[in-house]
């Protein structure tokens, strides 16, 4: 059981900044995210896009903002449960929440901060008959352990970075790799495109374009697929079919936690961004209130105010006063201390 003060669901910019603000109040944080890395949309959807409305940064790449936020909160030693989706929540008689992830990891905290952005990122699935039947029986949307593909016959579908990169990676491991894409053109990094071209020339991967997977077959597990190109159908025997069509966000299980939902977002009180369930806050893009704007800078503000109420829940009756970092400096949980240089006061006539 992972225990912390504030359990943050979502490791995007708002969740990461919460760690910093909570740290100033000596509260410890742990973050859960369905993605395998921190940064949320900033690292998953648009790491190379510049953002122009972060105060103090005339221009910053979304990926760099994530790096900076991780650096800023590092001193408060946040814990991370990555690649796991927050699934179930319960509250005990002492007011402690327990959140269990899709992989069964249990977390306990008196305060929950849902900073889930657009929801958890789920693989986009093609519309194919019997697709769900073959899930886990030859169909995988996310490659978790590449070693299972050793000496296997693989078909990958998709035209983006992950389809290219995994085709390249698996070309060395698998017995046979076929990449199927609806268009002739692929979208990826230049070196990935060149590498894929080279592997195709050397017959290490088979590329079929413009084509689509149109049928899945197999009695107990997936045994073959049908690829349709120019209306001609070809059956390919295989062991694994990996559709890589990117990820799309879903509110997911959080929608069933008893929280008041409006327009796919969680309703909060703007006093402290608490939801209808005391102790559960919602901050950043996932919340809604009159006048809400889905902006990173608004998420930062909401996280800051939320931490003040979290402190009162975690330390009932304890006195505390808001302090500027220019005055108090920052004491990291890792033993580091940051503070302004003190002016030197001495006579210059001696």
């Amino acid at each position: 059981m992972i225990k912390t003060d504030i359990l943050i669901i979502g490791a995007g910019p708002t969740g990461l900044f919460t760690v910093f603000e909570a740290g100033l109040l000596k509260l410890k944080c742990h973050l859960i995210d369905a993605l395998p890395q921190a940064g949320g949309q900033c690292s998953e959807i648009y790491p190379k896009k510049p953002i122009y409305d972060i105060p103090g940064f005339p221009e910053i790449l979304a990926g760099d903002l994530t790096t900076n936020l991780l650096e800023q909160c590092k001193q408060f030693e946040p814990g991370f449960t990555l690649g796991e989706r927050a699934e179930k929540i319960s509250k005990d008689d002492n007011g402690m929440f327990t959140v269990v992830t899709s992989k069964g990891t249990a977390h306990q905290a008196p305060v929950i901060a849902i900073a889930g952005g657009l929801g958890s990122f789920e693989p986009r699935k093609p519309t194919l008959d019997n697709l769900s039947f073959y899930e886990g029986k030859g169909v995988e949307y996310i490659i978790k352990d590449p070693t299972i593909y050793k000496n296997k016959r693989i078909v990958i579908a998709g035209g983006g970075d992950s389809a290219l990169d995994w085709s390249i990676y698996l070309a060395d491991i698998a017995k046979e790799v076929t990449l199927v894409h609806r268009r002739n053109e692929f979208r990826g990094a230049l070196d990935s495109l060149e590498k894929a071209r080279e592997l195709k020339v050397n017959n290490k991967i088979n590329i079929i374009t413009p084509a689509e997977i149109t049928q899945l077959s197999g009695a107990e597990k997936l045994e073959s697929i049908v690829v349709t190109k120019d209306k001609v159908q070809t059956e390919i025997a295989l062991d694994h079919f990996i559709p890589l069509f990117g990820l799309s966000p879903r509110l997911g299980p959080i929608g069933n936690w008893g929280l008041e939902i409006e327009k796919n977002a969680i309703k909060v009180d703007t006093f402290d961004y608490q939801t209808n369930i005391p102790g559960i806050f919602a901050i950043g893009d996932i919340n809604t209130y009159p006048g809400k704007l889905k902006l990173i800078l608004c998420g930062f503000h909401e996280a800051t105010l939320m931490c003040q109420s979290a402190f009162k829940i975690i330390n009932p009756g304890k006195k505390n006063i808001f302090r500027y970092t220019t005055v108090s400096g920052v004491d990291g949980f890792d033993g580091t201390r940051k503070e302004a240089n003190k002016p030197v006061i001495q006579s210059l006539n001696q």
């Binding site: 657009l118 986009r124 998709g158 609806r182 268009r183 053109e185 979208r187 799309s248 796919n264 977002a265």
Partner: protein
């Protein structure tokens, strides 16, 4: 600058005749959102960067619309329910040329 009249068939099949400004640098996806013709969170998910296909629509009328850029082409090649007349609403700016446009929102990807 004047407003243009656009007809949009929503995902439930209901048709809406709406007025869109040409001087606010808006695009089709934003107009759909501003009229709340699709639930928030189901359209314009990436914010309008042609990085998701949640604003996919089918253009039914013959209008002169700017051609697809590489990013839109690439996204549509990975999207589902794509037809010949598929476009990403976020990549179509509202201009006077769109007067009388008729489009239909593509189904939400589940």
């Amino acid at each position: 600058m004047s407003d243009v009249h656009i007809t949009i068939k929503d995902r439930e099949g209901q048709t809406h005749k709406i007025v869109a400004p040409t001087d606010m640098a808006m695009n089709i996806m934003e107009v759909v959102r501003s009229y709340e013709l699709a639930p928030e969170g189901t359209i314009g998910v990436c914010g309008g960067m042609a990085m998701c296909a949640s604003c996919q629509c089918y253009v039914h009328s013959e209008h002169l619309i700017p051609e697809k850029g590489d990013e839109e082409e690439a996204m549509l090649s990975e999207a589902f329910n794509v037809k010949e007349n598929s476009r990403l609403g976020c990549q179509i700016p509202i201009t006077e040329e769109l007067e009388g446009l008729f489009l239909e929102l593509a189904p939400e990807e589940l």
